[in-house]
């Protein structure tokens, strides 16, 4: 038997807002990502100049050396608007919560070999501060970049990095205690192994060009740090030494990096493909920040990898170069 | 004392919460508006986790309250066990 569900059919006067129709055509409805992103930022007739930056308008494309005919060329392949973003993270949060419960309830932290536990605390806990730095840098890019297509993913990235800093804190509290966090902060401030990285992060705080900051933080630093620490040291090296529970506790970071790099790669590609001038600027920034990032991460890698550090960091840089080549920038 | 208030959406989640608040704050006054319940109290209003848990028969995290909260007035202090709204003067 067939049941007809009858509702009144009335013909809409239009499919979407005019600004969207001008971009995608008036004949089809727009996605929520499109309606929530395209032209969201005001573009004309600003009333006052910022008292904190009188040389620029409130939103001003000239804050960066990258030039775009249309800043909405930048699209997030994940199509994240707030709702889609939050639902995705809530799902990952569920998994992370289940993983933490699993490790906690079965007392798996206590089964870790002491050497692994010590390495994890020494290596992971100071990274809380790196994630905090990234939170700040991504807030900066969100605030000062141009066009919602470019700026929007940065607020998500900023809050993700805060979340990562908080997951790392929980790892510290699970494998150690509040004093372990204090000790890690001391190492971050004073130990030679961390000074290159801390300098990198603090230097990034004063970058004024939002696209360069995107490159220094999300492309170059995270592009080496995540494959090195989470994919290589935790998931491979420490797991083979009985550290699998740690890999469960950092699964969020591994999954997160796999997801966000799609957006990072797309962004690099779009910026570089726009013009030879952009490509030149992107290449310069990428190689400069990549080299600094690799140098800063090398002593950190030694905490877990010892003599193998040069070789592993070298491999990670090779992979990074290949990634950038795919995004259209040969380094 | 000035009035503090908390306004919640009217729905199945908030029914026991409102009941709990009224139990814990006998002098609080309920003001029902379209789709919204506003609870006024003189100077101080406490939301207690335990009272809510007794009414709903499961664990309750006070941060869940945010899902249905519409607005409030007063200074706010939150711990694991209670949320307090208050005026100091």
């Amino acid at each position: 038997m067939q049941i007809d569900l009858r509702t009144v059919t009335i013909k809409p006067l239009r499919q979407t807002f005019d600004n969207i129709a001008r971009r995608i055509g008036a004949d089809k409805p727009a996605s929520r990502y499109q309606e929530g992103t395209l032209d969201m930022q005001q573009t004309a007739n600003f009333h006052y100049r910022p008292t904190w930056d009188p040389a620029h308008d409130i939103y001003d494309a000239s804050r960066t050396a990258i030039k775009m005919a249309d800043w909405y060329a930048f699209k997030d392949p994940r199509q994240f608007y707030y709702g889609a973003y939050t639902l995705a993270r809530a799902k990952q949060q569920d998994t992370a919560e289940a993983n933490f419960d699993f490790v906690e309830n079965r007392g798996l932290a206590a089964t870790l070999p002491e050497s692994v536990r010590k390495t994890v605390l020494e290596l992971l806990l100071p990274l809380r501060h790196v994630a905090w730095g990234s939170n700040m840098n991504n807030a900066s890019v969100c605030a000062y970049s141009y066009g919602t297509g470019f700026s929007q993913p940065h607020i998500y990235q900023a809050m993700d990095q805060l979340g990562i800093a908080q997951y790392l804190t929980r790892v510290g509290l699970l494998l150690g205690d509040v004093e372990s966090l204090d000790e890690a902060k001391r190492a971050w401030m004073d130990d030679d192994a961390w000074q290159g990285l801390r300098r990198y992060v603090e230097d990034s705080f004063v970058i004024k060009d939002p696209v360069e900051l995107f490159v220094a933080q999300n492309v170059a630093l995270d592009g080496l740090l995540y494959p090195l620490v989470y994919e290589t040291i935790i998931d491979d090296v420490l797991s083979s030494q009985g550290g699998t529970p740690v890999a469960m506790l950092t699964q969020f970071m591994t999954d997160w990096f796999t997801e966000t790099r799609k957006w990072v790669d797309a962004t690099v590609k779009i910026a570089a493909a726009e013009s030879p001038e952009n490509k030149e600027v992107m290449t310069r920034w990428l190689s400069q920040w990549r080299d600094r990032s690799a140098a800063a991460l090398l002593p950190v890698a030694r905490i877990a990898l010892g003599d193998r550090s040069d070789e592993v960091v070298g491999e990670v840089v090779q992979q990074f170069n290949a990634r950038m080549a795919k995004a259209g920038v040969a380094l | 004392m000035s009035t503090v208030f908390l306004a919640l959406q009217t729905n199945e989640d908030t029914r026991p919460i409102i009941e709990a608040i009224l139990q814990d704050n006998p002098s609080a006054v309920v003001d029902e508006q379209p789709a919204m319940v506003k609870i006024n109290a003189d100077g101080r209003l406490v939301v207690r986790r335990e009272t809510i848990e007794e009414l709903i028969g499961r664990d309750y995290d006070l941060q869940e309250l945010q899902v249905n909260m519409i607005t409030m007035s007063g200074n706010l202090d939150q711990t694991d066990d209670e949320i307090t709204l208050f005026w100091k003067s």
Binding site: R14, Q42, W132 | Q63, I70
Partner: protein
């Protein structure tokens, strides 16, 4: 195992402290003033950022969890509302004009708030305020987007909303809300927090959302009601942030008190002037009224704000002095605003109309001091004229206030028969103001307010015609050219409700939905 068991469970406050405060450090490779260049120039003195009290202690995992729950609920209702042609269940098609006002006047401001809180969060060196600001930045993009998504379906069936981004940057009356937020975001980060975080979110937001959203519920608009209440649930967090900011700044140094007082005075007035739009919406545009503007002001400002300022008195903060004038205006504000929009119905992206007999009776009962004496006769005259085919459309551009940018329509405090004019000479030019308060705001920062992009000046200077327009050709119609620049479709988006396509379509569609034709 033992080590785990012996571990002390951290309480909410301690746990939150290690989750946020502990992340911060004092840099040594770069100077503090280079990393945080925007925190000194406003003159606010902060001695210890750690004295900041976090009101809601939400970590990101909990944030994602609860916000996702809100989003799931919200979009389920939006989908259901759209699938069932929920727009046909609203009281009558006049209601849709509040939605037009909202999306073109308010939603773009949510977006500015998103960027502004990202800026403020980045600017503050303290981790407590930074995290709170960034969470609010994230919430604000939520509000902008959920509003666009909820209203998207209305745009498919009704006029006036189709190019709201474009209009927000251009249409004359929309420069009122736009300049308000531009003013806030171009101020220093502390003033931004006082303007938006405190004055707007804490003191005034209830006047915007609660009546608007209750109004939506009362008028059968489930979609708007849902996004409104859902947004408000974040607002509780924002309000506590606004109050904490004020308390924190005031406790840090006594020298901060007069600066903050001036900001509170300024922003309460600025915000109140923007709420003129809300006042007329509540009294005129909701077919079924929840409460009058005057009642809402009394509950949410006089009572609630009164409690707040009593609480802040211990810091030496007093009730903003503009409150006295606002109290005198509350019998007049919505009527003067509606009369203006009735006049300028040809140049706005929503429809206006004259209240019917029942509505006039409601207005006289809510405004016994003013309505019958001053406004009813005017409306009756206009209604008669319209019946004779002389519906009045004012084509003369009004003089605008340099600060709030509202046409100079307000009357003298205490004399509702006389228009209030104030002026200031500054560097050889004359500037006009609607009130003493707008004049004072200008006088304190003339270099800022002379920059204002005043729509009427811009039209007269020829800056509001489509590119390539030649105003010297014979028969040039400036209003038509301005409407083109606004992308406002004459005859569809504007003019009286009675002759609108919205009215006609709604009647026809509702007929299809409720009758067998």
């Amino acid at each position: 195992m033992d080590m785990q068991v012996a571990k002390k469970k951290l309480g909410l406050k301690e746990r939150y402290a290690v989750m946020t405060r502990g992340l911060d450090w004092t840099p040594s490779y770069q100077k503090m003033e280079d990393i945080y260049p925007y925190i000194a120039y406003e003159g606010i003195k902060i001695h210890d950022w750690d004295k900041w009290e976090d009101p809601f202690r939400l970590t990101m995992d909990a944030y994602w969890k609860y916000q996702a729950e809100k989003e799931r609920k919200l979009y389920a209702i939006i989908d259901a509302f759209n699938q069932n042609n929920g727009h046909l269940n609203v009281t009558d098609a006049r209601y849709v004009n509040t939605v037009k006002l909202f999306i073109s006047g308010i939603s773009p401001l949510e977006y500015v708030a998103h960027r502004g809180f990202a800026h403020a969060g980045r600017a503050f060196p303290g981790p407590g305020p930074r995290v709170a600001c960034l969470m609010q930045s994230l919430d604000e993009i939520r509000h902008a987007q959920t509003q666009v998504h909820s209203i998207s379906n209305y745009n498919k069936y009704y006029n006036g909303m189709h190019d709201f981004h474009h209009m927000h940057d251009r249409v004359w009356f929309l420069s009122v809300p736009k300049s308000f937020f531009d003013d806030a975001i171009t101020a220093g980060p502390f003033e931004f927090m006082v303007s938006i975080g405190f004055s707007f979110e804490y003191v005034l937001t209830n006047l915007l959302f609660v009546p608007f959203v209750s109004g939506a519920a009362y008028n059968g608009d489930m979609g708007t009601m849902t996004f409104g209440f859902s947004a408000q649930s974040d607002e509780a967090r924002h309000m506590t942030l606004g109050l904490e900011v004020i308390k924190f700044i005031l406790e840090q140094d006594p020298a901060n008190v007069p600066i903050v007082q001036r900001w509170i005075d300024k922003w309460t007035w600025r915000g109140y002037r923007v709420l003129t739009l809300v006042a007329m919406m509540m009294d005129y545009m909701l077919p079924k009224r929840t409460m009058s503007w005057k009642e809402a002001w009394e509950v949410y400002f006089e009572e609630n704000g009164g409690a707040l300022f009593k609480d802040l008195a211990r810091y030496g903060i007093t009730m903003p002095k503009c409150a006295e004038q606002i109290a005198l205006e509350k019998d007049h504000l919505s009527h003067q605003a509606w009369s203006t929009f009735y006049n300028y119905a040809a140049a706005a992206n929503f429809h206006t109309w004259m209240p019917d007999e029942d509505e006039m009776a409601w207005l006289s009962s809510k405004y016994p001091e003013s309505f019958d004496k001053l406004y009813r006769p005017r409306y009756e005259f206009w209604r008669e004229q319209a019946a004779k085919g002389n519906r009045f459309y004012n084509k003369t551009l009004p003089m605008l206030c340099q600060t709030c940018q509202i046409p100079m329509i307000f009357t003298e405090p205490g004399d509702a028969t006389k228009i209030c004019y104030r002026e200031v000479d500054y560097k050889g030019d004359k500037y006009h103001f609607c009130s003493d308060h707008c004049k004072e705001i200008f006088e304190h920062e003339p270099e800022k307010y002379v920059q204002a992009w005043l729509p009427v000046h811009q039209i007269y200077q020829g800056n509001c015609f489509p590119e390539g327009t030649d105003p010297t050709v014979e028969g040039f119609d400036p209003l038509a050219a301005v409407l083109k620049y606004y992308n406002l479709e004459h005859g569809r988006d504007n003019l009286d409700f009675d002759i609108s396509e919205d009215k006609k379509n709604f009647a026809e569609w509702r007929g299809q939905a409720t009758k067998n034709i």
